[in-house]
Amino acid sequence: MKKSLLSLSLLFSMWSFAVVISGDMPLLKSATTVPNVAPTAKKAKVQAKKAALHTAAKANTAALTLDPTSYPLAKDSQWSYKDDGTSLDGTNWKSVAYSNTAWATGYAPLGYGDSQNTQISYGPDAGNKYITYYFSKDINVNLADLTDFVDFGIKRDDGAVVYVNGVEVFRDNMPTGAFNYLTTSTGIVDGADENRYFVHQVAKTFFTQGVNRIAVEMHNRDGQSSDIKFDMFVQNEATGNLVVDCEENHVGCFTSINPTAQTPNLIIPQEHRFQLMFKEGSNFTIGTGTVPGNHDFTGYHPADGSSTVGRLAVNHENNPGGVSIVNLHLNTDQSLWMMDSSQAVDIYNEALVTTNRNCSGGITPWHTAITAEEATAAGDANGDGYDDVGWLVEIDPITAMVKDYGNGQEKLWAMGRMNHENVVVNNEGTRAYYGEDGGTHCVYKFVPTVANNLTSGNVYVLKMDLPLANDEPSSTTATWVQVPNTTQVERNTLNAIAGLLGGTNFNGVEDCEISPLDGKVYFTSKGKNRVYRFTDNGTTVSNFETFVGGMSYPIETATGTVTEPWGDGNDNITFDDKGNMWLLQDGGKNYIWVVRPDHQQSNPHILLHSSMPAGSEPTGLTFTPDHKYGFFSVQHPDGGNAPQLDATGNQVNFNASAVVVFSLAENLGVNAPMADFAANEVTVDAGQTVTFTDLSTNTPTSWSWTFEGGTPATSTEENPTVTYATAGTYNVSLTATNAIGASEPAEKIDYIIVEATTGLDGVTGLDNVSIYPNPTQGNVTVQINEEAGQDVSVEVLDFLGRSVYTTTATSTGASQKIELNLEGLMGDQVFFIRLNVGDKSGSYKLIKN
């Protein structure tokens, strides 16, 4: 009975499998195994040594029945495993009905040879290890909670076949077709790929309501392989709630530039515009001296939350180092930023001694600037017990002075001395994260005794529970280890102590930031070319993973999709309000990258924002609160860079360090004109003139008109007057140009209607007669262009054909004007003017009002 039920259930599984197939629905979307770096054989070199060292220790061999865990299945979960070299070929080990209670259990990653949470056995012979290892786990599923496709992310070294309820759902790095427990993997997995999760999508239909058995068999590359590793997560596929909506304009919505080596110019997206300001060598307006170079962190401090009035705190990574405060505002007429004043902060007095190599920094929730001293040269010139440099320093941007906490001006001693790079404080002012670029290269957390006060508190250093391997985390968890920071000696030596207490070396921690979307802490490692992220749980850390880096990414540019290496030199990062991560690169090609919040290493979503001018690196990006404007600096560009146009319409040259503000083009600087115009009359009689008025925006400096049927037919005047001789309907167009460029042509179709003159006799031989103004209030000019010496008579007839006004003259040649005064004629009427010049004549309609 039991057996038949089982068979039925299997049959049902097979049937549902078949139904889906016949329904023409993709069961397995093509497996998105993006990190497809070709495996190499270099692992073979070390394998013998590793195998010899291997002790086959097992962390947990106790047989234990694992309760089903609830869906989704997290990384580093507990699995049952069988590592005794037995073949389970031909058994039902994959199905829920199979009892795995005799199997050992342990937390993933499971394996041997590298850092693991659970060491498993390869058998008695290091030279002839078991090929296949079995893992299984039950998860409780409520089908209603599952997306149509489910993400299986597997860390597999080397090959894997994965089953849900006994049915194979995918295999990874395994040959197609039949296999058995001696079948080796297709390829060799090594390097960073040993610790990456390769994501496969599996249809929801494989799951049943309630308990489901997930089973995995891992196959080694051969019996001499040095290592094997397994972990897997199962979760709903990304639902799209992290997708950045670019329907509305946003500074983060732009077209990637094409990859390029550095050029003599700053290259930014076509949708963006920049303005150069606060260039090295220009004069401070307050105090003497000039703006020093090597601009670094460039923090925008809004005045009362304003996105148009504020201050920049600009670090100078120099010796002497320094911080400049620039008061500035947006001139909304011109959409250009104006510097109102600038000055250097005094960090050179007896209390502070000096500052040196001010790298990045941070902006506190209580609106102060923190500058990070990267230099740590020993020396205590003022004998205050603290080394002079290697600290974070807090500055009030309003007073442009270093903070005084009640004992005179001080640096932030309690946070410790190290090669400081940056600091970020959470919105509540209860946690600060920072990292060291140099020394012991650790990530730190400062927990203030009192919120919003960094002068006193505890320091913790981040210690990974398993070491990184090939720059990828071996597991998702870490621990905060407290570092003593009470005495001056402890504070002076904080980084070395942190290293001794187990702080993990991340080889150049350049920046820490907190994402506004997920609250996770993100930090850059320059030496490991990656941005890592984690969830801080207080004393421990979870969800530690590589967010981005260490590989190449597809970039969608205006001309197609290209693959560009991430490169090295991950430096400053900042988040905008949409959760985009802007990453500034000191190394590689010195780009600014933008990583979308829905980016996954297995499903990348990355944009290339800009390329810095030759010789320079981008530093210190911050945004205005409305995220319309970003400020960063261009640090140490070559002196020989070439001029280029900025948003002011002027040529600027990145031949010295400078601040750059950038924005969508519509928000910054003078744009090319939007052409528009109007005519004083759109319906005229043949022979009459029309005056056109330029209504273009953005202050054009030149105009190009075309007048179909008009004289002149073209014009470059601002407000030209045109005569239309012949009845008809005519088009008019205008292109207006300023320093930025030419407008799109504004064309008005059938704009001018020229009516045939209604006269008593019509026109016989008279050309280019103008009668204006028409309508008139009394005074009328009749302009004729006839050969001199002829008799001219002008007779005005009323509606009934009665002569009401006459005058005579002799023709004088071109542009002869005969003035009529009809003021004495009563009321609004239509008149006809009969004009005779020699033997030519014409009649014209005139309206008086």
Partner: protein, 301 residues
């Protein structure tokens, strides 16, 4: 008496400021063009990250220069122009490609602070001993295998940083540096702790981490002013009783050695606040004893 005090105070102030550039007091010029065009005396120059392969032309005409930063360039040697700047007090040549310091370095007799960190310097001239006003000497991250005998003449030296080099000994004359407060010898090749070093009676910071030192001399008792001793990552199997009598010692790191026990009486470590013993084969009972003996000290093991 009062006058003496004022003079002393003035002198201290002078030293405090002389060793660092102050851009608020006098301009720091960033290019030769601006420096040569300056109307007044040019005292401070900053040429960091300028991609220089040679010293800028005309440098030697700036005879009033007392601060010069050449960090982060590509200098492979220091040309003679530099050594005509007799007023120079602060010279930073950090992060270049220098292989040696020339003899003429000895001409810069007014130098107070010399930072030659992060080069490939393998040789230092004996003339370094002419720099008798030197207070700060930073030579970290080079390839130096010996310091010149004459360094003992730099009697005003307070900070000597030679970490991350190839040193296995210090010259005899070194003991003449009576004002030395900070000595950083970490990440070198020292096998022995020379008793002569204990002549640094004013030493407050001693960093010897990451060497191969097997034992400490009893003469460490001379370090009456020592506040910080970083002795981790050596090959110590124990420490002498004299080390644990240093009253001013606040932080002692003995991590990652081969120590099994500490001296019996730790009561002399009255100022110790932090003791780091991680990475040593110390039995639990001994740890308990140490912790009990040092109630005011945080012990890490």
């Amino acid at each position: 008496m009062k006058v003496t005090l004022i003079i002393a105070a003035l002198l201290i102030t002078f030293i405090t400021f002389a060793q660092n550039a102050n851009p608020l007091k006098e301009p720091v010029y960033g290019s030769m063009e601006s420096a040569l065009a300056a109307k007044g005396k040019v005292t401070q120059l900053n040429f960091r990250d300028k991609g220089l392969f040679h010293l800028p032309e005309g440098l030697s005409t700036l005879q009033s220069l007392h601060f010069l930063n050449l960090m982060g360039n590509n200098l492979e040697r220091l040309e003679d122009d530099l050594f005509e700047l007799k007023e120079l007090e602060v010279l930073t040549i950090k992060l270049n490609a220098l292989k040696y310091l020339p003899k003429k370095m000895g001409n810069l007799t007014n130098l107070i602070n010399l930072d030659a960190t992060d080069n490939s310097i393998a040789h230092l001239p004996n003339e370094l001993g002419n720099l008798t006003k030197l207070v700060y000497l930073h030579l970290s991250f080079n390839e130096i295998s010996s310091l010149p005998q004459s360094i003992g003449n730099c009697k005003n030296l307070e900070v000597l940083e030679v970490n991350s080099n190839q040193l296995s000994y210090l010259p005899q004359g070194i003991s003449k540096l009576k004002k030395l407060k900070t000595l950083n010898l970490s990440y070198n090749q020292f096998n022995e702790f020379d008793s002569e070093w204990t002549a640094f009676k004013n030493l407050e910071t001693l960093n010897l981490e990451y060497n191969h030192i097997k034992e400490l001399p009893q003469a460490v008792s001379n370090f009456k002013n020592l506040k910080l001793a970083m002795l981790n990552n050596n090959r110590l199997t124990g420490v002498p009783r004299e080390l644990v009598t240093l009253p001013k010692l606040q932080l002692l790191s003995l991590a990652n050695n081969n120590i099994t026990v500490l001296p019996k009486d730790l009561s002399g470590l009255t100022g110790l606040r932090t003791l780091i013993l991680v990475g040593n084969p110390i039995a639990k009972a001994e740890i308990s004893r140490i912790k009990a003996s040092l109630p005011n000290c945080q012990v890490y093991f």
